[in-house]
Symmetry: C2
């Protein structure tokens, strides 16, 4: 089959369609013919060699896709069934092997390309804000990078949970996108100090900056506040004043979806389909696609995401390769 | 009334019985005639001026007591009723004003002095390990300072919750005390590196060392592991590698009981009475009293706790003052 590979290990932009082996099915996996995949920031890291796939996962980039079951393997699934897939890797390809627990239905009225744009963000946002942090009505949630793939989805979901939503973004345009999606408090991090604006007000923060924002995030938390870190775009190592945690009973947690076991991923998928899919089915929460490109243009897609010009997701369609 | 006060602000050992005003009742409070109080490590900090009482709390030292209701105020309580009390301060005295929500029954068969030795540890341990961390059967819990006031209680409670209990302590004798209370894994922190022994094995850690143990604690946590910090005997400021949190989905949380609001303390007390008191009533969990001294010997009691020679609690009896 054809798949995108990094042809020159020293050049993360050397993403080219090359001929590779079609994946072998393991027990409990189905083979999916990929119609579309979409780009995650982690894909850029992986292309640079900075985010090695977990043990047993495909070496090919790509954390989500939608397509058609080509071979149901030992599962009870049907050939030809349309599915969306949460992947540990392997999405930038014609075919991918997927544990049955990581298959999701196509949301009502969604094309396969649209479905490929919501799986990773829905599972990430729900597992962190729904399952772990338990965001609920009346709470204030701060979402960093509100105009990104994760952010554009999280804003909508938090509004559905009844929360007041604060976001950070780097431009007035991006903040306007966030406002349209439902964000209540808009902070341009290039001009304002979010911790000044939000001191002691946030019940939950979904953070993608790591070290750079740690102190400000703690300052922004309310009593019983929870900081959930899913990205470290601003570094890993920070000084922490533990004395700041105790009187307000703050918690700092970090998670990655990709490192979860197959069982744990299946649990996330089950809960996401149960709680988030109904919101997609009737449009209360919707995909936010910046642009759609052919899979062969993966390098262009990565450069585009890297440019900071993107709001929401970039979809890659496999088409005829 | 008589109460212990720090008579020389520059000398934390200048703890003397002096004449002070009897506390005025606020709405919802009862006046308790104190029979006994007990010493907490925080009392030593407060005597040194390092742990100022929260706003509105008594300036007098003492976080728990047991005694008899002298004046029920506006509550429906009865004069003469024996009660144990969780305090924000004021225990080292003849009388103390207590919000009704912070009154607990005397456990079955307990003397008032014995009751004064379990309130703060029970509420602290239950609020952190039961209510917040949700310790459950089959989990492994690490308790630092297993032979201390908190530790001796936490070991027993965790065993009742069905956990495997690891403890650290500074001597073979203290570890033997821990073993007798039910601890399964005994680590002499002066001779062993607990993080080497327990790498990746702990589901929950109750920490009292703060900065000094942060890195080792994180190393010791299992997937989904929770570090709950209630003391900072080893300092506040530490470097944290946030990258260590994400793949194992670790959480770091800090709490203090004393800083909770009156409503939040009442919730802790209610849940502690519901879940822990039955275990005290029939002796499945029991008090661990090192020694009992007259209140007038508060300075001696503080020196004793400071010496590191204590296992469990020191009780101070008011008697005739
Ligand atoms: N742990 C997990 O399971 C998991 C899963 C999915 C994603 N992630 C992580 O989540 C993050 C977002 O992923 P994504 O796919 O949504 O990426 P994305 O679409 O590239 O979004 C990242 C956003 O970060 C914003 N940003 C950059 N610097 C910022 C700053 N200093 N303050 C606030 N925002 C800033 C950018 O917007 P501006 O132009 O406004 O700066 C951009 O919109 C990434 O770090 C990714 O690795 C983690
Ligand atoms: N946040 C809250 O709500 C709350 C409530 C109650 C208590 N606390 C805190 O919890 C801690 C324990 O309180 P406590 O009243 O039980 O005090 P305690 O009886 O004095 O116990 C402290 C214990 O710490 C041990 N220790 C000292 N250095 C250690 C080290 N490097 N590693 C492991 N253990 C060490 C000592 O035992 P060794 O002789 O074995 O060293 C001692 O048994 C204190 O820091 C206190 O402030 C917090």
């Amino acid at each position: 089959m054809k798949a995108i590979t990094v042809t020159n290990p020293d050049d993360p932009s050397s993403l080219e369609l090359t001929e590779v082996d079609t994946p072998q099915l393991r027990d409990g996996e189905v083979l999916v013919k990929v119609h579309a995949t979409s780009v995650n920031r982690a894909d850029l890291l992986q292309a640079k060699g900075n985010y090695p796939p977990p043990k047993g996962a495909s070496e090919i980039i790509g954390l989500e896709c939608a397509g058609v079951i080509e071979d149901p393997g030992t599962t009870g699934r049907t050939t030809g069934e349309e599915v969306a897939c949460l992947l540990s890797g392997g999405g930038y390809a014609e075919y991918v092997a997927v544990p049955e627990g990581q298959l999701l239905p196509i949301p009502e009225g969604y094309s396969l390309s649209e479905a490929a744009a919501v799986v990773e963000v829905a599972c990430t946002v729900w597992s962190n804000l729904g399952m772990l942090a338990g965001v609920r009505e009346g709470q204030t949630v701060l979402l960093h990078g509100g105009a990104g793939g994760i952010g554009t989805f999280a804003i909508q979901l938090c509004k559905q949970l009844g929360a007041t939503v604060a976001v950070t973004a780097g431009s007035a345009e991006k903040l306007e996108t966030c406002r349209k999606l439902g964000a209540d408090i808009l902070i341009n991090y290039k001009e304002q100090d979010f911790a000044e604006e939000l001191t002691g007000r946030c019940d939950v923060i979904l953070d993608i900056m790591g070290a750079k924002y740690l102190e400000q995030n703690l300052k922004s938390l309310n009593v019983d506040g929870q900081l959930v870190i899913i990205g470290m775009q601003g570094g890993r190592k920070a000084e922490i004043n533990l004395g700041a945690l105790l009187p307000r009973r703050l918690s700092v947690r970090g998670t990655t979806l990709r490192a979860r076991s197959v069982e744990s991923k299946a649990e996330v998928v089950r809960s996401t389909v149960e709680n988030v899919w109904p919101l997609l089915d009737d449009g209360r929460v919707t995909h936010h696609i910046h642009t759609t490109l052919p899979l062969a243009d993966a390098a262009k897609a990565h450069a585009l995401l890297d440019s900071g010009e993107v709001t929401g997701k970039i979809v890659l369609e496999v088409g005829e390769v």
